[in-house]
């Protein structure tokens, strides 16, 4: 289980990575992150929304209301051009942290 601080720091890159696979909405983002992390990253669900709104304000992502397959209105988010560029920066930074830790702990670098 990741610490609160680590979860807060990793929300932005996770959202960017998730949306690079196509548009999505709050509930599905949380669901997929939980699934992909094998339950290691359990967000307090409401906390995603202020982050999404902040990222929208920073023009990293764009949003629009649509009716989902269950007939309910949902706010869908997708990457903007600057969001796509931000992924590269985030990736470099996170890999730098990962590689440094791996050099101490001897974990195999398998991400590049």
């Amino acid at each position: 289980m990741a610490s609160k601080e680590l979860i807060a720091a990793s929300t932005k890159p996770l959202v960017l990575a998730m949306l690079s696979r196509g548009e999505s909405y709050g509930y599905a983002i949380i669901d997929e992150v939980r699934e992909r992390s094998g339950g290691q990253l359990e967000w307090s669900e409401g906390m995603l929304y202020p982050v999404l709104h902040r990222m929208e304000k920073e023009k990293l992502i764009l949003s629009c209301w649509k009716v989902g397959e269950n007939g309910r209105k949902r706010k869908y988010y997708r990457l903007s051009a600057s969001g796509t560029r931000a992924i590269a920066t985030e990736r470099t930074q996170w890999l730098a942290v990962h590689e440094t830790l791996a050099s101490f702990w001897g974990v195999e670098t398998c991400l590049t």
Binding site: M47, K57, K75
Partner: protein
């Protein structure tokens, strides 16, 4: 029997009147809550259980609000100032209507020939009742409000402006009617009573306002029934 819609309405009450989440954010989170409840129900949970778990996963509204507030620090203050100005207009209108109402009652008492001391007592009672009524109406309106309808529209602006002009005129007419029917000594006899009683009424209105503000600024805790 647990009523899901009622539960969701209860949860909406946990939003502060000046919530930083905003109408759109609140809709988005409500959609999330409903979807979460639906999925939990589809795996066999009862409405009550699904509601409780979905709320727990969502986290406390107060935490959400403080996170949302970080997004727009300026806007939070803009909202607060808007509420203060709205409160000022509302209080001015309330004050004007109480004054106009008291003046009309006073005119009636002057015509009916009520004694000065009795007239002062009745005027004070009328003031107290009018304030109590206005406070109760205001409190109930704010308590049951829809967060999406926190808008001061043109309709309300025009209405408030008109009322703020009409009420003092009504008050003046009432006083003029009073003066034509009673002697000046009647006024001096009742003025002492009104002055002392006014202190009590004002203090009571002030204390009631404090109580109303305390109760409104505390978000109600979501109750799982």
């Amino acid at each position: 029997m647990f009523d899901l819609e009622h539960g969701i309405q209860n949860w909406k009450q946990t939003f502060r009147p000046d919530t930083s989440i905003g109408a759109e954010g609140a809709q988005e989170i409500e959609a999330h809550l409903r979807e979460s409840i639906e999925r939990l129900q589809s795996i066999g949970l009862s409405a009550n259980e699904a509601y409780a778990i979905a709320l727990h996963r969502l986290g406390l509204t107060a935490d959400l609000e403080s996170e949302f507030a970080k997004n727009a620090p300026v806007s939070a203050w803009r909202t607060r100032i808007a509420w203060m100005l709205g409160g000022y207009i509302a209080l001015t209108v309330c004050h004007g209507s109480v004054a106009a109402f008291t003046a009309l009652i006073g005119a009636w008492m002057a015509v009916a020939g009520v004694g000065a001391a009795n007239a002062a007592m009745i005027a004070l009672a009328v003031q107290a009742i009018a304030w109590a009524g206005l406070l109760v109406v205001g409190y109930r309106t704010l308590l049951n409000r829809e967060y999406a309808s926190d808008r001061f529209t043109w309709k309300w602006a025009v209405l408030a402006g008109a009322v703020m002009i009409v009420l003092p005129i009504v008050a003046i007419l009432g006083r003029m009617a009073q003066m034509t029917f009673v002697d000046i000594s009647w006024f001096s006899a009742s003025s002492m009573w009104l002055a002392y009683g006014g202190v009590v009424v004002n203090a009571a209105v002030y204390l009631s306002c404090l109580v109303v503000m305390c109760r409104l600024s505390k978000p109600l805790i979501a109750v799982v029934e």
